[in-house]
């Protein structure tokens, strides 16, 4: 398959801001200690160079295709169509199967690309990253193993104590896991710890797990990840002769959402939906729905974006069953796209996602990542509401659920 090349059609300005022209609100930027400014400039310059380096891009694509297995199928799911009311009522439903990637989620695409970039463009010898549920750590550690770079992973002490398949795999891949005892002992302080570590070691490169962090990370990650959407768009053309009517993706930091929807930003006829975790319900306050809960703008991990925080600016911990969505912010470009209304947002509760997980297993024979169940639930609801037999719906099935099995089997048995 010939993969369409990347085209920039939502560039930030030179300082890494996306500005909402109506409100004047800025998203993104580079708010970081002066100690990290040179590191970021190196990444920025390197990234610009990389995107013009044909050989780099070709080599990277070759590895993504043959190692990450990025040309995953798009599966038409008659089972889900049935559940939503039948093709004759609601049209067709397609699943982009990035659960079939190496290391079982969309994450390895940007993780591998970033590490490949670090090795070949920046000539770095070491990668620093952070992790919550270890999906990102696993992907980064895998890339480091293959590309022979050392890998340092920061993880909150609470997350480190949890039994975690992905964490164990990260260890097998040879990563050096640093446990962070700061603050909430979870993802956010681990991210801060990773950034601090990078501050001490400018020859290393920091890799972020989503479209977050200071400029140029949000730009770089979505650019790398968008190969998923470029392929999906082409596949939809091959399948139905045109782009889908809707694109649905879950949104934690926003990488899988931008990964699949970015290439459709300019297509007005394609409705794009980002789905957040409403946790125990938005009203309960225990959720990870930054956008849906209308969280204010803050400056988190180096960028302006919507942030769950209290009146004094202390960041509130998010709460959700999906550890991959357990994040108090959202990537700046996504926040910008939400502010313009180009991406519409919905939120699914943990309970709804858990029920969707069981449904997916039993009715479709697919073991989805729990993260993906938030989007599937919301998509089915939206599709039922749209009730348009002429439509084609594309849902990003962004991961496989091996690491959710123990908790979900317990949930199943507790609720039988």
């Amino acid at each position: 398959m010939k993969i369409p090349p990347f085209k920039e059609h939502n560039p930030p300005d030179n300082l890494g801001y996306w500005t909402n022209k109506k409100t004047g609100e800025k998203y993104g930027g580079q708010y970081i200690s002066p100690l990290l400014i040179p590191n970021l400039k190196k990444v920025e310059t390197g990234f610009k160079k990389a995107m013009k380096n044909e050989k780099f891009l070709a080599d990277l694509e070759e590895q993504l295709v043959n190692h990450i297995g990025i040309v995953t199928p798009i599966l038409r799911s008659k089972e889900l169509e049935e559940i939503a009311g039948g093709e004759k009522k609601i049209g067709k439903i397609f699943l982009k199967r990035t659960d079939l990637h190496h290391d079982s989620s969309h994450k390895p695409v940007s993780a591998f690309s970033s590490v490949f970039f670090a090795k070949h463009i920046l000539k770095a010898k070491k990668i620093i990253t952070e992790t919550g549920a270890s999906m990102n750590a696993r992907a980064v550690a895998s890339a480091c193993a293959k590309l022979n770079l050392s890998c340092e992973v920061h993880i909150g002490a609470l997350d480190a104590e949890k039994v975690s398949l992905n964490k164990d795999i990260t260890e097998l891949y040879g990563a050096d896991i640093k446990v962070c005892h700061d603050s909430t002992k979870s993802l956010l302080p681990a991210m801060a710890a990773a950034l601090r570590s990078w501050q001490s070691d400018p020859t290393a490169m920091y890799v972020v797990g989503s479209v977050c962090g200071p400029h140029p990370y949000p730009l770089m990650v979505r650019t790398f990840a968008s190969i998923i959407g470029r392929i999906a768009k082409k596949q939809m053309r091959d399948l139905i002769g045109k782009s889908p009517s809707t694109v649905f993706a879950v949104c934690g930091g926003g990488s899988n959402l931008s990964a699949i929807s970015y290439p459709f930003y300019n297509e007005k006829n394609v409705d794009i939906f980002g789905i957040e975790s409403a946790g125990k319900g938005i009203a309960s306050g225990a959720h990870a729905a930054t956008i849906t809960s209308k969280a204010p703008i803050g400056i988190l991990l180096g960028a302006r974006s919507n942030v769950l925080m209290d009146a004094d600016g202390q960041v509130d911990p998010s709460e959700t069953e999906a550890s991959g969505l357990d994040f108090s912010g959202t990537g700046p470009e996504i926040c910008y796209m939400a502010s313009t209304g180009r991406i519409k947002f919905r939120a699914t509760t943990d309970k709804e996602a858990q029920e969707t997980f069981l449904m997916m297993c039993k009715k479709t024979g697919i073991l989805p990542a729990i993260e993906a169940c938030y989007v599937i639930h919301a998509a089915l609801k939206e599709i039922k509401k749209r009730k348009n037999p002429k439509e084609n719906h594309l849902i990003h099935l962004c991961g496989s659920g091996e690491s959710n099995v123990a908790r979900m089997l317990k949930y199943k048995k507790d609720n039988e």
Partner: protein, 272 residues
Amino acid sequence: MNKTFQRIFAKAKSENKSCFVGFVTGMDPDYESSKQILIELSKYCSVLEIGVSFNTSTSDSSIIMSANDRAIKSGAKTEKIFQLIKDVKREITSDTAFVTMGYLNQIHVYGIDRYIEDCKKSGVDGCIVVDSNNEAPEDDQIFKGLTKNDMAFIKLIAPTNDSNYIKQSLKKCSSWVYIVSYAGVTGSKDVNLNNVKKLSKMIRKQSKIPIGVGFGIKSLDDVKKVSKLADLVVCGSSIVEKIKEGSQNGLSNKNLAQFVGEYVKQIAKGIE
């Protein structure tokens, strides 16, 4: 230049000495103890740098992060830090400068203009905003607000920053500039004098602004050495560690203040 700093630097010059800067996280381990510590430290410090806690800071060492945690737990909020400074200033007579140190998110949420106003009201002489990018619109706004109100905008400069970055930073520094002695986090390594020399040289080419040095200064000897090179010697993590040690040993309020003061007194003697 801010008036307080003007006086402090003049006095230091007259004594042929540099100035000692003591850092603590505001309200670590609690409001009252922190107040007593600051009062006690004012005896030995020309400048008191007071940290405004942020639970997701990207540049603090674990030592400072823990202090932040303790402070937040005891109710630290931006407005309380202003209150603390006011309370401290009310009880001291020394001519000590007060500097806040924090992250942009706190200020942004508080409101930049309101923050500057409250700085002014509580007698703050300058602000460090660790993650305020020189090129960001917020940075301009802070710079303008502080300048207008005769307060110092104190920028950090790291050994890895290039001359262009230094130039940009110096443009916004009115009272002094803060040299970070090594690429790392506070308290993690020993002060790096080579870096300091190199950076000072670069700065001196462009400006006569007083230079402060921090990161890794934790002994009498460190203070002595840095004192020779810098106008201000900043000591943070090791003081914060003393606060932790004392309070873990059951000390609080004046007792804790005395315990910490004793330490600061000793190392501040290195000022030459």
